[in-house]
């Protein structure tokens, strides 16, 4: 998985009724666009550090690459 600053990060809900979580990548701390990412979440407006799992996908809004 790789991302760029400005990309959108999405984690789908794991249970029925659980909303998806969407955030924007503010910092890429790994090598070559790898995790962890500092993500600002749309619903709370706050940022946390995320080590993404397989349930996470990246939308490359900056046009720098395709979904990983």
């Amino acid at each position: 998985m790789f991302a760029h600053v400005g990309d959108e990060l999405i984690i789908e809900g794991h249970r029925v009724g659980e909303p998806r979580r969407v955030g924007k990548v503010e910092e890429v701390r790994g090598d070559d666009g790898g995790p962890p990412y500092l993500v600002r979440w749309d619903d709370s407006g706050r940022s946390t550090l995320l080590f993404p799992g397989a349930d996470c996908r990246i939308e490359h809004l900056t046009g720098a690459g395709k979904d990983s």
């Binding site: 962890p36 619903d43 709370s44 946390t48 550090l49 080590f51 799992g53 996470c56």
Partner: protein
């Protein structure tokens, strides 16, 4: 207050290729209820004793199966430089009970909601002691606030 002021527990980590039995044994030895699953040194998930029960035993997951088949993915962490308020928001916003604390992306500790409760209780106890002291032994300076007797 900074997160580092809290009693952050040292993290207990295990590789994703470890078995469920090995993970349970590590939890027992280390006296913890959760471990962070790592790939090399990179955290990739977290698994709790409850996960082993509900996703493992209850689903008849083999005890010699890989632990990364049971773990929760997508680890939400906080930098060690963040403050207490940030930590509270993480617990609230993400509905999780444990937050790994990282220093330059290396996990250096873990804080649970229970730890916060203990901390808050200790703070409350300190306030209670001050209040009890003021009730039982009023300050001499308080005399100035006493009502003036009618002449």
């Amino acid at each position: 207050m900074n997160i580092s002021d809290l009693a952050v527990r040292a993290p207990v980590v295990i590789g994703g290729d470890a078995t469920v039995a090995e993970t349970a044994a590590l939890m027992t030895t280390a006296g913890v209820g959760c471990v962070i699953v790592v790939d090399a040194e990179t955290p990739v998930g977290i698994v709790t004793d409850r996960d082993i029960v509900t996703r493992g035993v209850a689903q008849q997951y083999p005890i010699d199966g890989r632990i990364d088949g049971l773990m929760s993915m997508g680890l939400i962490a906080l930098d060690v430089g963040r403050d207490f308020d940030d930590l509270l928001h993480v617990f609230r916003d993400h509905a999780i009970r444990r937050v790994p604390i990282v220093d330059h992306d290396r996990v250096v500790g873990i804080v649970s909601l229970d730890d916060l409760m203990v901390f808050a209780t200790e703070q409350l106890a300190d306030v209670s002691k001050v209040l009890a002291g003021q009730i039982m032994f009023p300050h001499a300076g308080d005399e100035a606030l006493a009502p003036v007797p009618a002449s």
